[in-house]
Symmetry: C2
Subunit: 345 residues, 2 copies
Amino acid sequence: MANLKELSEILGLSQTTVSRALNGYPEVAERTRKRVADAARKHNYTPNPGARGLATGKARTIGHVIPLSGESMMNPHFSDVISAVGRVCQQRGYDMLLSVVDEAEHLEAYQKLKADRRVDGVIVHLPLSDDPRIDLLQTLNIPFVVHGRTLGNEDEYAWVDIDNRHAFLEATRHLIELGHRRIAFMNGMADSAFAHLRREGYGHAMGEAGLKVDEGLLSNGEMTEPLGHSEMMRLLDLDEPPTAVLCSSTVLATGALRALQEHSLTVGKDVSLVAHDDELSFMLADTGDTRMTVVRSAISKAGAAAADMLIDMIEEEKVPKSVLLEAQFIKGNTSGPPHPPDVGH
Amino acid sequence: MANLKELSEILGLSQTTVSRALNGYPEVAERTRKRVADAARKHNYTPNPGARGLATGKARTIGHVIPLSGESMMNPHFSDVISAVGRVCQQRGYDMLLSVVDEAEHLEAYQKLKADRRVDGVIVHLPLSDDPRIDLLQTLNIPFVVHGRTLGNEDEYAWVDIDNRHAFLEATRHLIELGHRRIAFMNGMADSAFAHLRREGYGHAMGEAGLKVDEGLLSNGEMTEPLGHSEMMRLLDLDEPPTAVLCSSTVLATGALRALQEHSLTVGKDVSLVAHDDELSFMLADTGDTRMTVVRSAISKAGAAAADMLIDMIEEEKVPKSVLLEAQFIKGNTSGPPHPPDVGH
DNA sequence: TTGCGCCTTCAAAGCGCTTTGGCTAGCTTT
DNA sequence: AAAGCTAGCCAAAGCGCTTTGAAGGCGCAA
């Protein structure tokens, strides 16, 4: 509760010695260190991080820039990542600064973070296929780890990602093996890197089976429940509706399920559904009759890994190895042979 | 990019004058002020917030403590509130510090925030009926606004809440008027204040209609999709299942809908559903055939109000008036007369 | 005894800002 | 012409810490 000066006066030592004792420097006698530690605890002294930051230039804080476009709020995938990052931060003694900005000026936000020297590094969320933030952060010379990865220059920086391409390759193959030909795909925003990679995986599986991709079955957008619903509605209204649907998120899938319900269709029979499962904390788990067929990879795990990497990077000043996590394919009961069977043609 | 000293040297002025000029103090000539402002812009000087904080004792930052219990992550209601708060912060030039901690030590987190002087105030989320944080924050003497309110001492501090009691009074009355007698209620965590008030509203409506509350139809818990699902399953398995269900969140309702689907029951006919709609950014909106009957109040609006209050409080050093927002009842098509009619007993 | 090195400790500078308490020049009063 | 204001500016202290450079005290070798 007091400050260094008072504490050092109480102890009859200089501020230097007290500071060094507390920070584990070697040139202080063990007896003294103990005495200092005890006194600090007794007066529950805790160094002022602001002052320390001023003196050291380190803030022991990492930042997130959260761009909000129009009315939209933080998306739920995001918040699970932030929680995971936060947990790591707590364990390693870091704080987290959130900078909520208009999408239009989110690049300036990074400049500001740099100028303000309030953070030692940032985590970049939801990279685009070609993301201007990478360049920006490199020239600003602020340590960063990307959750996800861009396409093309991904060896120039540190990232944590899952193997999106392979996950959707597997998912699509699964549906093809069941006999599906018309497979729809509700994907994330078109410019985001993960959506691109997933689309690639999907395309590859279709190609290797000799199937043409029907662009009318593909869509991109925010991964919300309402969008999953409306997109499924659109698909069902098609002249030739798909017999199976891939969803880039269980949130979309939930909306899709609702649409099927409204059409009195049975998932896994009338229409098959396979989703990517981020293991969101509040979303549909393996409960009840519907066990969704998914490719699963906990988004919180990736978030935690990214946080650890960033802090390593900050403290050890070297760029850590990027990490590619695999998603796990899990067969549930929302996928089955097409019905009515679409064989021949 | 430089610092005050350099800037003042460039200008041939003292740091004092430059600082005063930039901060709008009166004792500096208009011409000088202009000259300083221009130079600051040209060299894109921006004061170091850490140093400023050290000097002034103000951090221009507000904090959130996010307790995580076990594996669970930040819940989605939470993240929408934080986004809204963040937006206000940005507009008013504040930053946001997130402190993610184990539930068990979340009180210590406030002490730490105080000791570290990194925030000027905090927003308290999800108050319990009788919440120890109120006392703690009062004795710590750290400005705070509660999103929600405790029961009993709510005149001792500033809060923003919605009229939960009245919202659920209305919702329940609606179902009773339709003819329902057995009305289930999936509520939030039992110790949270909002759940208590909603329960009161529900109880009052039942009472005034001369209906007994069947405790077997009530439940409390985290407001997740899986829980909505499993709880609905439990209700449907009852000897005498309810004809209508109230949900404290559309997230729960989504799970409940899924359960109904699995039982091939039609919502609004076989079972009526009324939910509280926080207008979460990514959840079921008025899309498609299912327009849920709801009591609606945007949680982001409350969050923004809380943020504004807190900053007012910090800057003007007086406690603002608390705010009670009304929820709006909106009839959708998920509620209708009981079926089979439950008339006469 | 002198000198060297090692172990502890310290005074003081510095991080970048705000703010107190002057100081000076120029004007008005009387 | 002396005294009193005021507007405009400044030097320096202080916020609470870290860190550099130095110094005091001790044991030991010569």
